[in-house]
């Protein structure tokens, strides 16, 4: 009798597990098919892309599409890569530098305005960017910075509420005894920051670096508003050129998919290299935020 109950319990657990795996597999198809579709399309001949039903394995496999997509005479992707890398690199550097310094101040130093200003900081995190979009554009226009990379890089050096908050939360967990010990050894405020706080904050610095990289690499509205000349364009705007060019006739999806995949690939590579920090970042911002 009791054995029978256990057996049926085990059977129902196996059934539940089976359903779990089936559901997960079905969802995984929805997640992975678009990537496979993109890869397959990017390797097809122009004529094979527009075939129905589609052939998943391209024949012939046209690796040349990747070269062709990067060497279109109307879309110099080499320059787009260079611009995007410059903007992203400067933004990551500036944002880490400024936000970690400000986070240090909020986490470790006692000063008169700290409490009220921290509340202001939290409030600005909720502020939608549209409200400041137009005046900031006008400001950069008056400065003569439109159609340069400056509007996309300089603001990073003034810190961002979200990253300041992230750093502050992490730095609060570093024991203050470490500061005191460093003070005895003759460290000033800057010494404690650079010798104690920054080295101990490496995980959160890496997490933040990844998120800043992602948002800059994928940014579209910023470059769309601020950059006019093709030689200043970023990858997002470059893809837009290729799309617009095809819009007048038949869209050349094989080239468009090849270009899109190339633009995506640094992000994918980074994800597989540093998955731990991606997930940490989401968790820090979501659960503790």
């Amino acid at each position: 009798m009791r054995a029978g109950v256990f057996a049926s319990k085990r059977a129902s657990r196996t059934a539940a597990q089976l359903i779990t795996y089936l559901l997960l597999a079905a969802g995984a198809i929805f997640m992975l098919f678009p990537f496979a579709w993109m890869l397959s399309s990017s390797l097809k001949e122009a004529g094979d892309v527009l075939k129905f039903p589609p052939e998943w394995i391209p024949s012939p496999v046209v690796w040349r599409n990747y070269i062709d997509a990067m060497t279109l005479d109307y879309a110099p992707f080499g320059i787009f890569f260079k611009n995007t890398i410059i903007i992203t690199f400067i933004a990551v550097f500036g944002q880490l530098l400024s936000s970690s310094a400000v986070g240090y101040s909020f986490a470790r130093l006692r000063w008169s305005g700290r409490g009220p200003l921290f509340i202001v900081l939290l409030a600005t995190m909720m502020l939608p960017y549209q409200v400041t979009l137009i005046p900031v554009f006008i400001l950069f226009k008056k400065l003569g910075w439109v159609d340069t990379l400056l509007p996309l890089t300089v603001p990073a050096f003034f810190g961002d509420a979200f990253y300041v908050f992230l750093f502050r939360q992490f730095m609060m967990t570093i024991p203050t005894e470490m500061d005191d010990a460093a003070r005895i050894d003759g460290c000033g405020t800057a010494g404690i920051y650079s010798r104690i706080i920054v080295p101990l904050s490496t995980p959160v610095l890496l997490t933040a670096a990844i998120f800043i990289f992602l948002s800059q690499w994928n940014d579209f509205l910023g470059p769309l508003i601020y950059l006019n000349s093709t030689h200043n364009y970023t990858l997002s705007l470059g893809l837009r050129i290729v799309q617009g060019y095809g819009g007048y006739g038949v869209q050349r999806w094989h080239l468009l998919m090849a270009a899109s995949l190339i633009v995506m690939s640094p992000v994918l590579a980074l994800f597989f290299l540093a998955q731990r920090y991606f997930i940490q970042g989401v968790v820090i911002s979501g659960v503790k935020g």
Binding site: T20, L24, P53, V102, P128, N218, L235
Partner: protein, 313 residues
């Protein structure tokens, strides 16, 4: 012994920092990048934006004060505003609950003792890390009427798919389906929330005779509700600011079926150079987001459970 040392360390440290005034100055100094940025990029522009919203301003000539003219025009003559609000709201109302529910359910599935958890987590999270123009182009191709992936799959089960992005009825649903591709972000947050629920709670509930359903509704859901609340607020802010997908895939069409609010704002500001009017639109969107956020925060007292908080009333 250790205490004595740490006490000495503290005394010595106090002596070294010197005066509190110096630390006060250092504090302001280290925070100054953000304080400056706050005035230059947030507070200043906000005030300018309020002012501009009461003016006619095309950048070339100085702003001209027209009082409530922009807001009056918005209500009386600009039919696209209503359409933009409608599209944006439908998108938010459909995509946010779908994303919340699926993100939560996926997290539940992955929180079981299953094989290959890191692999599943990677697969589901992968689409959430890519975004921007490349993703919009990919989905535009997926939703292609004659040769796209979506209609191929529908064809396999004998359904003749619609024209999706070219059909005023199906363009917005297509964008909603696309939004589900990024469900992994919410899933990861939910998963972390689920893993943070103390197992003793389940054990003691089991001893008290609670079944699986009871444990789910009385332990799992309340304990994860703050995470769901966070996802909801972030979802609202994100959905109401949708821009890139609509700009790339449909440019608001067909027949304004995907004319998101941000497209209307962008067009007015940077296509028609009606900066004053666009500033007014930005404030409308701001108050709309604020209103919805406040409603959700208000309602949260009834359904979000915070540990250590006493129930009111």
């Amino acid at each position: 012994m250790a205490n004595a040392i740490s006490l000495r360390v503290k005394i010595a440290a106090k002596r070294r920092i010197g005066s509190p005034q110096r630390e006060n100055l250092a504090g302001w100094l280290w925070a100054s990048p953000w304080i400056l940025g706050f005035f230059i990029f947030i507070l200043g522009p906000m005030l300018v934006s309020v002012y501009l919203s009461f003016t006619n301003y095309a950048v070339i000539t100085p702003p001209k004060w027209i009082g409530l003219g922009n807001y009056r025009f918005m209500v009386q003559h600009d039919e696209s505003v209503l359409q933009a609000l409608k599209v944006t709201t439908i998108y938010a109302v459909a995509s946010i609950p779908l994303n919340l529910a699926l993100g939560f359910m996926l997290a539940l599935l992955l929180n079981q003792p299953i094989k290959g958890l890191p692999m599943w987590r990677t697969v589901y999270y992968l689409p959430a890390v890519v975004s921007g123009v490349a993703v919009a182009l990919l989905w535009q191709w997926i939703f292609n009427t004659d040769f796209g992936l979506a209609n191929w799959i529908l064809g396999l089960v004998g359904i003749k798919g619609p024209s999706w992005l070219l059909d005023a009825h199906w363009a917005l649903p297509a964008l909603i389906v696309m939004s589900l591709w990024g469900v992994g972000g919410g899933m990861i947050i939910n998963l972390a929330g689920l893993q943070g629920v103390p197992t003793q709670l389940y054990e003691s509930a089991e001893i008290d005779g609670a079944g699986a359903t009871g444990r789910f509704w009385h332990i799992t859901v309340p304990m994860v509700s703050p995470v769901i609340f966070f996802n909801l607020v972030m979802g609202i802010i994100g959905a109401l600011q949708t821009f890139t997908q609509a700009f790339i895939m449909t440019n608001g069409g067909p027949r304004e079926a995907t004319y998101f609010f941000m497209l209307h704002l962008y067009n007015n500001a940077f296509l028609y150079l009606k900066m004053g009017y666009a500033a007014a639109l930005a404030w409308v969107l701001f108050f709309y987001i604020l209103l919805l956020s406040l409603l959700v925060i208000r309602s949260s007292a009834a359904w979000v459970y915070y540990e250590g908080e006493l129930r009111r009333g």
